[in-house]
Amino acid sequence: MSEKSSMDIDYVANLARIELSPEEKNKFQGQLGEVLKYFEKLQEVDVEGVIPTAHAFPRFNVWDVDESVEGFTSIEALQNAPKSRNDQVVVPKVVEE
């Protein structure tokens, strides 16, 4: 269980794409360790055969028929973009991964 109470903060921060300062890393490591320890209560619950709840009031087939309606103009689409050119969003060079 104690293994579950620590977290590879670098790995998870990278997954979440959040750059942390060394101080933040330190602080979060401790705080989140505490939180995970608190979460250990969950491991004691008998959930054998219990169906998980994804929706409070589940239904099926909530859909629309295929009809298209007017969308944004490119001006509307890009009105909040930090940087744009040729009606497109500019991003720094994408390093393939």
């Binding site: 309606v69 969308g71 944004f72 689409a77 497109q88 720094p92 060079k93």
Partner: protein
């Protein structure tokens, strides 16, 4: 050592729908950038997805076409990863409950010649799931531009088992899949427009062994020839590596179509941790048997089944059927014309040669073939033309000249024949005069024929035909010449 390749394909197909998978803004190719967008497509704060029923129905249709097991219930999961072409930084997809499982694709390998049927085989599928497409990135020297028009379009991922063993089989598989999907009006499957995209998982193993080798995933196989070349290259690369004592590492590589080689993208250790979980914004889909049966009734005949029927029931030659069967509208045209004629083989021949040629010419240079929906020649027109030949009203040659005119004017064969007075001339006196004239104009040929040179009669026939602008009934001319020369 001799190695054999084992290949599995992940094919992404854009479904042809009016609106996107999870919002009702339009879809389409070649629109001004970022105009097929709305809050949902751009992943703005507060935007929520709503399923497209028709996209689900089309997916079930594909599942039935490919003999899949259709799920009773399927659900939506979020696949979390960051990339600039993905507005929400998660893709709504299906993880552990896809819409279709299993399935099969019948493929045909090339025969010994284009007129000979090749061998057929069934390739097994793993699953098919539905998801949303991402936007389009264009890379420049120092930065990249993103257009989100494509983002959110319904995208079907068809995953095969590692059940293909050569680049030729990969090609055959894609061709068959494409024919099925196009003929069922699922998608136009135009690779140039990104409507069909393909990743390949390739491994090699010593011939005669059954354990799978280390798998390498090849991305960016975006044209049919790219797929063939990329797979071919990768098999060569792996074979060379093993023969030189290297080991294959599990990785993802990118095909570079210009340089024609693959380069590493990421290794297994760098693999994504997608953190799949059920999308709380969407409800699951329940597919009851009534719905499935309704869709099953609407299914078109599968292209290979159609081909077998044409060959067996209509006695079409293989070459005609292979040109027809990948093209459902063309088949419909053919079948309608064939109904009005006693010689379906001739109809088929005219459809795959003359009609296709004219349709090709009708489009401007560089453009794709003109669609049949606006074709000025109707199936009735074609059948009528063939019947005119059969009834001896016009000669084959005249018909061949007539057809492009029918195509331009939209007039029927009969109308044109009447307008231009193109009926075949079978009138004995007129032909006899022309034959006599030909013999006196070319005594040399007449002499040779009389001397036993059978071929010499052709020169005489030619001049008669020329004098009648091809309208003389060739059989009458032949008989008359022989009588006069005997």
């Amino acid at each position: 050592m001799d190695y054999e390749a084992v290949i599995g394909l992940e094919v992404h197909v854009q479904l042809d729908t009016k609106s996107k998978m999870f919002t009702r803004v339009g879809t389409g190719f070649g629109q001004p950038p970022n105009t097929l967008t709305n809050p949902v497509v751009l992943g703005l704060p507060g935007a929520l997805p709503v399923m497209n029923r028709d996209a689900i129905e089309k997916s079930i249709k594909v599942g039935l076409l490919l003999n899949c097991k259709i799920a009773d219930i399927c659900k939506w999961d979020r696949k979390n990863y960051f990339y600039p072409d993905m507005p929400k930084n998660y893709q709504i997809s299906q993880f552990d409950q896809p819409i279709c499982e299993g399935g099969e694709v019948e493929i045909e390998m090339p025969g010994n010649s284009p007129s000979e049927i090749g061998s057929h085989r069934i390739v097994q599928l793993t699953r098919i799931h539905l998801e949303e497409d991402v936007g389009k990135l264009t890379h420049y020297e120092t930065d990249s531009l993103v257009d989100y028009n494509r983002a959110g379009c319904p995208l079907l991922e068809i995953v095969s088992e590692p059940d293909l063993f050569s680049p030729e089989e990969v090609f055959a598989y894609l061709t068959s899949l494409r024919n099925s999907l196009v003929s069922a009006e699922i998608s136009d499957c135009d690779m140039e427009k990104g409507q069909l995209r393909c990743d390949a998982n390739i491994s090699i193993r010593p011939v005669g062994t059954s354990t799978l080798g280390t798998k390498v995933e090849i991305k960016n196989l975006n044209t049919i020839s790219g797929v063939r070349n990329g797979v071919e290259y990768e098999i060569r690369r792996q074979t060379k590596a093993l023969n030189e004592g290297e080991t294959i590492i599990q990785e993802t590589r990118r095909w570079n179509p210009d340089q024609k080689y693959t380069t590493p993208m990421r290794t297994k250790e760098m693999a994504h941790d997608y953190r799949y979980f059920p999308d709380p914004d969407l409800m699951p889909v329940k597919i009851d048997s009534e719905w499935v049966e309704f869709i099953r009734k609407e299914l078109p005949e599968k292209p290979f089944d159609k081909q077998r029927r044409y060959m067996e029931e209509m006695n079409l030659p293989y070459s005609s059927t292979s040109a027809l069967c990948g093209d459902r509208p063309l088949c419909e045209f053919f079948e309608e014309a064939a109904k009005l004629s006693k010689v379906p083989q001739k109809i088929a021949n005219w459809v795959v040669n003359d009609l296709l040629r004219e349709l090709g010419q009708a489009g401007k240079e560089g453009e794709e073939r003109r669609g049949l929906q606006n074709c000025p020649v109707t199936p009735q027109h074609l059948a009528e033309l063939i019947n005119l030949i059969e009834d001896g009203v016009v000669s084959n040659n005249v018909a061949k000249e007539l057809f492009p005119e029918m195509f331009i004017s939209g007039k029927s064969a009969k109308t044109l024949v009447e307008e231009k007075g193109l009926e075949m001339k079978s009138d004995g006196d007129e032909i006899e005069d022309l034959c006599a004239q030909a013999i006196s104009d070319d005594p040399d040929a007449a002499e040779k024929f009389r001397g036993g040179k059978e071929g010499a009669i052709n020169a005489l026939k030619g001049s008669v035909m020329k004098a009648t602008r091809g309208q003389a009934n060739p059989q009458v001319v032949d008989e008359t010449l022989r009588r006069l020369l005997s």
